[in-house]
Symmetry: D2
Subunit: 347 residues, 4 copies
């Protein structure tokens, strides 16, 4: 049984890791940490866990945690993560980092976006951007996996087949994304209060100012083997979970919609968690809620010739903790879908 530590277990990705791992036949959570709530039971913070996971939250002492676990999930805010990841690596542990700290290859890009120097930029080369559908082989041999952001997962998986085939006019990509509220975490801000969000819909980070744009463009550029700039606008939807991205682009060639669909179905034919929808079907976040699926629809707007991609994930599962467990499975040599076969909760 693989022993797993969840470092930073007091947030939504932490409790989601515990929910998923609870049903994993080969892994077991043996340590959970929280600076603010050390000494309390994790089930005091999240009564949903009561009777099934009542571990006591500890302070984050990398030595002590390393003794208790084989693999470490760091579910900390950015900056905090890079403060401890090197210690875990030094202790010979594999680390799956759910923060943004090791996703960018370029330290100065990190410093620009996150407004602070990188504390262990030497690790950026070693870190593998853990999108299994595209980097399964690298993940398998990684010590440090940078688990992708939620928006990036929904956008990169949608664009990958077309970019890999070099069929995209790369200056035309626009990603209009909509996220549930859990993506903002459990932090105390007036903007996150129930009454501020309920019965409202808004855009934020308009004009390319959201930090995820760094990793999105990095990975899209790798796929296209060209430097890509996109327009990316995130929005906030009054619901707990889910991201839906609507992506517009022009192709460099005249594509027929049937052929386009075939290309997507083939590209993802072996993937356990990507579902390419049939013609005329479109994703809803409701159909992936609580599951590790990414649903993708491809369409051609005949009137303008544009290609429109729509993708949906659960931001806490495929967009965070589920993908992290998928990476754990790959690293550990388990079947990739082990413990991840829960169906969406509908309705």
């Amino acid at each position: 049984m693989l022993k797993v530590a969840v470092v930073g277990a007091s947030g939504y990705t932490g409790v989601e890791l515990i929910r998923i791992l609870h049903n994993h036949p080969e892994a077991s959570v043996t340590a959970v940490t929280s600076e603010q709530s050390a000494g309390k039971s994790i089930s005091e913070l999240f009564p949903s866990l009561k009777g099934r996971c009542d571990l006591t939250l500890e302070n984050l002492d990398p030595d002590k945690i390393s003794e208790k676990a084989d693999i470490i999930f760091t579910a900390l805010p950015h900056k905090a993560a890079m403060g401890v990841v090197p210690a875990f690596l030094s202790a010979g542990k594999k680390v799956i980092d759910l923060s943004a700290d090791y996703r960018l290859k370029n330290a100065s890009e990190y410093e620009k976006l996150y407004q602070q120097p990188h504390l262990s930029s030497n690790l950026l080369d070693k870190a593998v951007y853990g999108l299994p559908e595209l980097k399964r082989d690298k993940v398998a041999v990684a010590d440090l996996v940078a688990n992708p952001g939620c928006y990036p997962t929904s956008i990169i998986l949608a664009l990958a087949p077309l970019l890999k085939e070099k069929l995209v006019n790369i200056s035309t990509i626009i990603a209009d994304s909509k996220s549930g509220v859990s993506g903002a975490g459990r932090s105390l801000k007036v903007d996150n209060l129930y009454c501020e969000i309920n019965e409202g819909f808004k855009a934020y980070g308009v004009g390319g100012t959201h930090r995820h744009i760094g990793e999105i463009e990095q990975e899209l550029s790798l796929l296209a083997e060209k430097d890509i700039k996109i327009s990316f606008t995130p929005h906030l939807v009054p619901m707990n979970r889910g991201i839906l991205s609507t992506i517009y682009l022009e192709s460099t060639v005249a594509l027929e919609s049937g052929r386009l669909l075939d290309m997507y179905e083939e590209f993802y034919s072996e993937e356990p968690f990507v579902r390419v929808l049939a013609k005329g079907e479109f994703p809803s976040t409701a159909f992936v809620r609580g599951s590790n699926f990414c649903d993708i629809a491809v369409t051609i707007d005949k009137r303008t010739g544009r290609i429109i991609l729509v993708s949906a994930i659960d931001n806490l599962v495929k967009g965070a903790s589920g993908q992290a467990v998928q990476n754990m499975n790959i690293i550990s040599g388990f079947p990739e879908n082990m413990g991840l076969e829960m169906l969406p909760v509908y309705p």
Copy 2:
């Protein structure tokens, strides 16, 4: 591998049965029926299932279904259920009926509440009211399990310890219950439209007119060994899943709150799915969402001497499909919690 049929698979309890059984290691859904959607794939109706359960919906032919399955879940509306249950029993199948048709022991009570004659009242004696915490032994040897209603489950489990100890002034029981919208099913009524429900809260069936009152009083009376009448008021909460019942009663003796809590903890100490909350903790439907738990809190209002019980379940799991699988496990000799260990989805 136990072969399972879901008869009436186009409603919310049907798709929830499929969701739960998908992760059951010893059972497999082999047939699904729907009169209205026969010929379609179940995943057309519920795209959440796509790629995992794409069975074709069949017409309800008991002979054909009996050939394909060892055990039958009837997730039909009342009246429709009793039209086919006898045929499945005749074919030697075990039946777990999620409708109301076999819950009441008294056919004339059924006829009064459901406004129609009972078509197989001879089976009422054989049917076991499938609340495992109270009737595990009878379920184990039953051919026909009448799976309890959602409101009744939340109310009976909350009251059972006190009633069994004969500590209740039985004329004082008031159950004020609040339900999510999935309890109303997928039926087309203006009242169930999104805009009619969202941002509103209302009472309905005020004055003891909700049909569930029949089975609630039947089971409470059995526990108390006395004829009980209660006041029961259901309400509709703008959320998909969950029932919370707030129950008021007076005791026949002076009870101290610590002793009351001990009594509940002891009564449910061996139960895998009932969680008695510590002093000062109160249930939320959010902490049981998607799981088979029933959370219960017990309190004494010192100012008035009343006992206040609060219980929470997911109406589609412990209040319907999860409990049905729990009954299936008991009937089939599987561990009672098999396939039911999914943790609540939070948030």
Copy 3:
């Protein structure tokens, strides 16, 4: 034109006062205060007001505010209110206080419930509990109106006719109340975050510990001319606005439901904002949203003989700011419904 100050304008009752007063033909908001946001425009805090009310928030200096306004609404937290109300009264201003500070007649009861000494208990006798339907005449000549709490408004209006007629077995009253989230204000607590509340329903303050119980029992006792203790359980509904109270009681006499309804219709026949519903109709908070209405239904549960009352208000309007404007109208000699004739926003 009556000049009005809103002291403590950065909360939800503050912005709601401004919304309502904006359409009042005889009153105009001339000053708004906020300690935390002084110097900012009120429309920066609440962009809904932009272009219609862009007053600059000031620090709370009672002398300066008194120069600018004829009447003062104090929409401050309890304790803060009693720190400034005496100064406004000394300056000869009329005050309508939306906090709890002047609602209780008994200073020691206040101290017990609010865990602090009362700083101007000499004013408690002068203050009028501003429920216009019951105290219109006293409000008309008051200098200080204690605007009722939201739960109390919904419960007292529902019970008043029966209590005034002395028809209630006073030891049997149970009020099971459900509130939208805006009742908790705009304060930063994890419990008020969107994801903690959405898709969940919970009880709180179980066992008679909610502070509103003080004013509820005070006013019910006045109506009954007897000392009343009730059981009161508040719950939280995932919606912004609305309170629905379901109230159970036994009568001292045998009442017929038609006669009961007549009594309610007569009692409230002249009231502009209380709507007694016809037989078989029940309130929903959706039907009063944004308006100053209180809808009430009365029923007899024939099976148990209990009377069941259901009432619904918008907690921010009839439960706070609308009622405050109603009191302002009375004090100022305006028609009582002036500026309050906005219809519910449905859906």
Copy 4:
């Protein structure tokens, strides 16, 4: 006092017209019709109206209605509207039609989009597309106003200043729109049930198949004096009210963001209901809920050079009934904002 009839009063735009007109000082609703509910009181259908508007719903007899009213709002589905509008015009009444029947100038375009022949195409030339900010003068002298659709209102107002100045590369326009559920009306479809929508977000009409695209392109083309084709994708947000459109485009010239904002502020400087937001502010539907405002933000994405416009309206007010009353005011010579000064309901 202007006498007003609401033809087709049983839907959401009907009840919203009644809500708004109730506070209009110069207009009064004198007749309401509904084929399905004739003989019932409108307040039976919408208990929110009880005690304030209890008119009896009549069958739609144009002669009888014409006797009772000076101006007619037709809030019928498309096709039904054109069945009666000519009769009202023949009777010498002014008509404001909230359906789609008279919005398109080209009958064959209508027939293509709405899959049926137009029954009174002779009126298409006379009908004025009633977007007051752009066509105030024509509305003033119109007999028949085609009240714009909700999506079109949000998109056309956002684009008008740039298009009028001929600054848009017209082949680059993409409108990604998100709507609350009331836009779908009160019609009985499984897709509109609470549980199907709540906690989900989805795209629909992907690829330019939504019917509103006809009027959007017609009006944008008029502004640009060129034939425009856009990409338009509608989405469904789990909330009752509100539309937010995020619009992407490229300019034909290099624009600086300050100058762009100035242009918008100037263009709309005299408009009572359009609020151009300051730099760094972005609209939320929550800030216009229940009001006739259209909030617009303009931004330049420096990384790609694209212009991004974000607009928000309440689909039932500025997107339907509020705009209809605004048109009524213009036609009747009332101040344009009469009865429309209700502030947004927040929260």
